[in-house]
């Protein structure tokens, strides 16, 4: 069985990153010939299973208890570790979020299993251990960049179960597998797992921001470089980002020129992003910038220079004047939106 640890948003919806992992978990489960389970912990889980079934989840493990929202490490750790020990999944996936990166390593330490952080790809394959002369089938390949992104490493933990990985938001695709799919929901009593001492860390206050600038988690980024020419021309990128439901990013040169705020800077000395769609406007594509965005799922480049280095990593290259192309993109989006 493949298990996805699901996170809840402030309004008690399953977080996008978890639905992305369910989509991926479903395809891994199919390759392994097994089922997909989703663990959800929170205070109010009314109807939560309905959000998960369309993504191919066969069993929703629902643990509703006031101690489980907002997230705190120890109660979630006790539930997750306890359930994994009982249900013995082959694979467990967590979002590489501030929750998943806090929880998953503690769980892996308890279970003494492997954990690979920030995977950008997950595959199933075999692994040959030459020293032991053994071949392991149906192993999870945990693929991630290493050393500043110059190297892609494939990590396996052939002899330990479960095989665990975290994945950042936006890396996997969120896709309804079957809108009519129905699984089953199992309600679990948190008190079977949560110990009295798990309550020892107190949350004194929380300020959850409706983030003003949230390029790190944006699934669509419209990004501008020095080639945008002015702060006024940058406004056009804000308009495109707004209609697409995305955020605006910028290169260091654009930030230094005063076209955009520092929080929007993408690249080696800014934020690293992995959106589903990255639209690079007037960006030549210095290696430092590419390091922060080259893992974007789809890249569109708009540039007057047909030989701009950014074009080498773009899926689509539009050679033309951004100020002319961007308004046309807004118009064609409005024509095509569902």
């Amino acid at each position: 069985m493949v298990l996805v640890y699901c996170e809840l948003t402030e309004n008690r919806r399953v977080a996008d990153v978890s639905l992305e992992l369910c989509t991926k978990g479903h395809s891994l489960a199919q390759q392994l010939g097994t089922t997909l389970e989703a663990l959800v912990c929170g205070d109010d889980l009314t109807g939560i299973e309905e959000q998960l079934y369309p993504y191919g989840v066969d069993t929703v493990l629902a643990v509703a208890d006031n101690r489980l929202f907002p997230y705190r490490t120890l109660p979630h750790f006790s539930v997750a570790a306890g359930l994994i020990e009982e249900r013995k999944p082959e694979v467990v996936l967590f979002g590489a979020t501030s929750v998943g990166r806090d929880l998953a390593p503690r769980v892996s330490s308890h279970l003494r299993c492997g954990l690979t952080a920030d995977c950008t790809s997950l595959e199933i394959g075999s692994h040959e251990d030459k020293q032991q002369g053994k071949t392991f089938d149906n192993i999870l390949y945990q693929i991630r960049p290493a050393f500043g992104g110059n190297i892609i490493a494939t990590i396996v933990s052939p002899e330990h179960r479960p095989q665990m990985a975290t994945v950042r938001e936006g890396v996997m695709k969120k896709e309804v597998v079957n809108a009519a799919h129905k699984g089953n929901r199992i309600d679990i009593d948190a008190s079977r797992y949560v110990r009295l001492e798990d309550d020892c860390v107190k949350i004194i206050s929380r300020e959850i921001e409706q983030q003003k600038i949230n390029i790190k988690n944006a699934s669509i980024i419209v990004s501008g470089g020095y080639g945008m020419g002015s702060k006024e021309n940058f406004d056009m990128l804000h308009q495109l980002a707004q209609v697409l439901g995305g955020e605006v990013g910028a290169t260091r040169a654009a930030v230094d020129a005063g076209f955009a705020e520092g929080e929007r800077q993408i690249g080696q000395t800014g934020v690293t992003v992995r959106p589903k769609l990255y639209i690079a406007c007037g960006i030549s594509g210095a290696v430092q910038h590419r390091a922060g965005m080259d893992q974007s799922a789809k890249i569109i480049s708009i540039n007057t220079d047909p030989d701009a280095p950014i074009n080498a990593i773009a899926d689509y290259t539009i050679v033309g004047d951004v100020c002319k192309v961007v308004p046309m993109l807004i118009e064609s989006y409005n024509n095509n939106r569902k």
């Binding site: 907002p70 979020t97 390593p105 954990l115 860390v201």
Partner: protein
């Protein structure tokens, strides 16, 4: 890099991991508030890491220990956290274990929570600011993906410190001179009394199966004309593929 895909650390310079420096600053702030306490700096690595211990001492730490042994080689985060937790147990009565959220080479952010689990300590990750500390508890703000949280944990506890925390204070001139030649304590694997099967490569569930160099020009780029028809077709594809919706 070694042939098996693990890092040849002997070939790398020993540098002070930036978030660990921030953790040292927070530890020194804790010491200022608590008074009678000692800040011990612990690292696992080659003996060259002595430069990092000396730097810590010059910035205000009281004692430095390196755990170094060929039997630690090839450790993944699980084996690393095990070796560190053995060393922390040997140090004795520790009220607070502090460290950077993650290292700039691996970026996994796993070792902190794993050490906390092994020592059965509550953990506070991504700490940004020390709010208060007394002999019984610590209160800090945490930087989350979508906001800030103030939490209080009883001592002993483990805290990892994030990049947006305060920078570390500068070294004191007289301490720089005083510790310039200091040789830190070096403990080997036997000194920390471990279960040897949990160290190094044998204690590491994860293996590097293979490594590939990134080829930057990896995509066949499709040309799209800057006219309404072609841009419209592009947008229709993006909508159909659920890339925009």
């Amino acid at each position: 890099m070694n042939a098996d895909g693990t890092v040849n650390r002997a070939a790398l310079p020993a540098i002070f991991n930036p978030e660990d420096l921030k953790a040292l600053e927070m530890a020194l702030q804790v010491k200022e508030q608590l008074g009678d306490t000692e800040v011990v700096v612990l690292t696992m690595g080659p003996e060259r890491a002595a430069t990092i211990i000396r730097e810590s001492l010059s910035r205000g730490a009281d004692r430095g220990i390196i755990i170094s042994d060929a039997r630690f080689a090839g450790s993944d985060t699980l084996a690393t956290s095990y070796a560190l937790s053995c060393a922390i147990s040997k140090i004795g009565q520790v009220d607070l274990v502090m460290g950077g959220r993650q290292a700039i080479d691996g970026d996994t952010a796993q070792v902190g929570p794993q050490v906390a689990e092994k020592l059965n300590l509550p953990q506070i990750t991504y700490a940004e600011r020390l709010v208060a500390v007394d002999g019984k508890s610590i209160t800090v703000t945490r930087r989350l993906d979508n906001g800030v949280e103030t939490v209080q944990a009883p001592l002993p506890a483990l805290v990892t410190v994030t990049a947006s925390a305060a920078d570390c204070r500068y070294p004191h001139a007289h301490r720089l001179l005083r510790f310039a030649k200091t040789r830190p304590e070096i403990w080997n694997a036997d000194d920390v009394n471990p279960d040897f099967s949990r160290l190094g490569k044998n204690g590491s569930p994860t293996k590097v199966k293979k490594i590939d160099n990134v080829v930057l020009a990896h995509k066949e780029s499709q040309r799209v004309g800057d006219n309404k028809e072609e841009l419209n077709a592009l947008m229709a594809t993006l909508v159909a593929d659920h890339i925009v919706g």
